[in-house]
Amino acid sequence: MSKRIDVKDLNVYYGDFLAVEDVSINIEAKSVTAFIGPSGCGKSTFLRTLNRMHEVIPGARVEGEVLLDGDNLYGPGVDPVTVRSQIGMVFQRPNPFPTMSIRDNVLAGVKLNNKKISKGEADVLVERSLKGANLWNEVKDRLEKPGSGLSGGQQQRLCIARAIAVEPQVILMDEPCSALDPISTLAIEDLINELKDQYTVVIVTHNMQQAARVSDKTAFFNIAGTGKPGKLIEYGDTHTIFSNPVQKATEDYVSGRFG
């Protein structure tokens, strides 16, 4: 239930502006890959191109290929809706649907595309997804209460439960802990460690310790200056990137000398 992603020569544009230039990267199945780099270097933008969420922004487009187990996400006739149902996403700020109960939030993705699901199946799925997100014990007695009543960390885990309920191949996380306190952050990090048994996880983070803690591989993105495109500088095993990077820029960044 997880697939690998191979990106070949990807350029991302906002209108005429080249935001990310010439990225090629191979992301292994059932692993955690972290994207690090200074603000504005295009790592979030690049992450969004992996499930075509960048298309929500007017004028955003890509050139190049993103292969999910060999199938090009940008091939002719590929529907972004199908892509997103296979490649889930968790956002910077927790965003459960405020008008839905906890239970309905988990089932939101499953009920899409007019899929019918019996109450019994739904109950099983809600429990499995919430357990998968380490949230079941905290919310099992209040499944009908609004999701917006939970704490920030719980809301973020609810969003993860919502994402894994549709059984995606890949889960993308865009700075999932940046709005959370350290304890909630730890809960999410533990969860990421468990998720990689079943899913391919890609995470963007500003927190280098976090990248070092949770990821198997790390990609360092950088930008030469304002108005210049972001580039993938170095990609390798997390251990190597943090202890013995090839590029000078990577070493400067991970050792805190800039950025």
């Binding site: 499930n51 969420m53 929500v56 007017p58 809706v81 199908t82 997103r84 149902s85 296979q86 889930g88 996403m89 956002f91 700020r93 965003n95 459960p96 649907f97 405020p98 008008t99 839905m100 109960s101 939101a108 993705g109 899409l112 595309n113 209460k145 609004p146 917006s148 009543g149 969003c159 919502r162 994402a163 549709v166």
Partner: protein, 310 residues
């Protein structure tokens, strides 16, 4: 060191605060006073009609017998207007906020706002002189083919000046109100929620069902209530379009009357108890509008927990 006392009496910076809070308080009180004054006027002036013997009231059957047909007529016209206008308005608002290319959206929004600026007498004239004639063949068809439904019972009006025509004209009039309010609400849907839906694999329409409409629900209800307020109280358009008469279930015969049009048509020549009767009718309209607004508020607060405000 110069003494900087915490208890400085130099309140120069405070004058603005005081003036502003005073002005705000006065404005708030003024609204209440005006509302109370109007209500008081209506009640005092209506009492003679409410207490008069039945045979003194127009129709000779007492105030209740006089008022209830036109209450029903008012509600019929307003309901027709809302049934037609609400889906169209929400559709147009969604198109402007989420589907149309930006340039088309702003142009269309402008045109919709322009619709609200047309005086109601113009709508009335249009309804009476143009729409009624154009639409009467359709009434003939309805009477022939769907006459088994009480609301489409024949014989259809040949002039087309029916409560249904009045309702359609009202629908056109409330359309811009509901549209522009709904559009504003839809535009305020948090990007986060829209993206959450899209990232789950929602199509555009599913995203709207999942994020935009539930978020906008209280706003949509408020917009409909404002439209309803206008439809209930609209005088000129109804007075011009509707060929009024006794209460009838059929929407395509002439007949029925609304409170506002009844007051407007009869007030200039009224005197004595008749004036009081019309004012009492106005009081009834006031109470209906108040009740509708309170119900709407109740509907909105019932779902407060899930509104996203917390």
């Amino acid at each position: 060191m110069t003494a900087t006392s915490l208890t400085s009496t130099q309140g120069a910076g405070r004058t603005g605060d005081k003036v502003f809070s005073g002005a705000a308080l006065a404005a708030g009180c003024l609204i209440l006073a005006v509302l109370f004054g109007v209500a008081l006027f209506l009640v005092v002036q209506a009492i003679p009609a409410l207490t008069a013997p039945a045979d003194k009231i127009q129709g000779g059957q007492g105030f209740f017998a006089y008022i209830w047909p036109i209450v029903i007529g008012t509600l019929i016209a307003a309901v027709i207007a809302l049934v037609i206008a609400t889906p169209v308005a929400i559709g147009v608002a969604l198109f402007i906020s989420h589907f149309a290319p930006r340039r088309l959206a702003s142009g269309l929004g402008y045109v919709v706002d322009l619709l609200a600026a047309i005086p109601s007498v113009v709508y009335g004239a249009w309804g009476a002189a143009f729409l009624a004639k154009q639409i009467s063949p359709a009434y003939g068809w309805l009477a022939e083919n769907m006459g088994w439904l009480p609301i489409f019972q024949g014989p259809a009006s040949t002039t087309g000046k029916t409560i249904l025509t009045a309702g359609i004209v009202l629908a056109v009039m409330v359309l811009p109100i509901i549209t522009s309010l709904s559009r504003e609400i839809f535009l305020q849907t948090p990007k986060l929620h829209e993206e959450a839906a899209l990232a789950l694999g929602a199509t555009r329409w599913e995203m709207i069902k999942m994020a935009v409409l539930p978020f906008g629900r209280p706003g949509i209800i408020s917009a409909i209530m404002l439209g309803l307020g206008r439809a209930l109280g609209e005088t000129m358009a109804v007075a011009l379009v509707l060929s009024s008469g006794a209460l009838t279930a059929s929407l395509i015969q002439s007949g029925n009357q609304t409170i506002a049009a009844e007051i407007a048509l009869n007030f200039p020549e009224a005197s004595g108890i008749k004036v009081s009767t019309l004012i009492a009718a106005g009081l009834v309209l006031f109470v209906i509008t108040l009740a509708v607004n309170m119900i709407a508020r109740w509907v909105i607060t019932r779902h407060k927990e899930f509104s996203g405000a917390n």
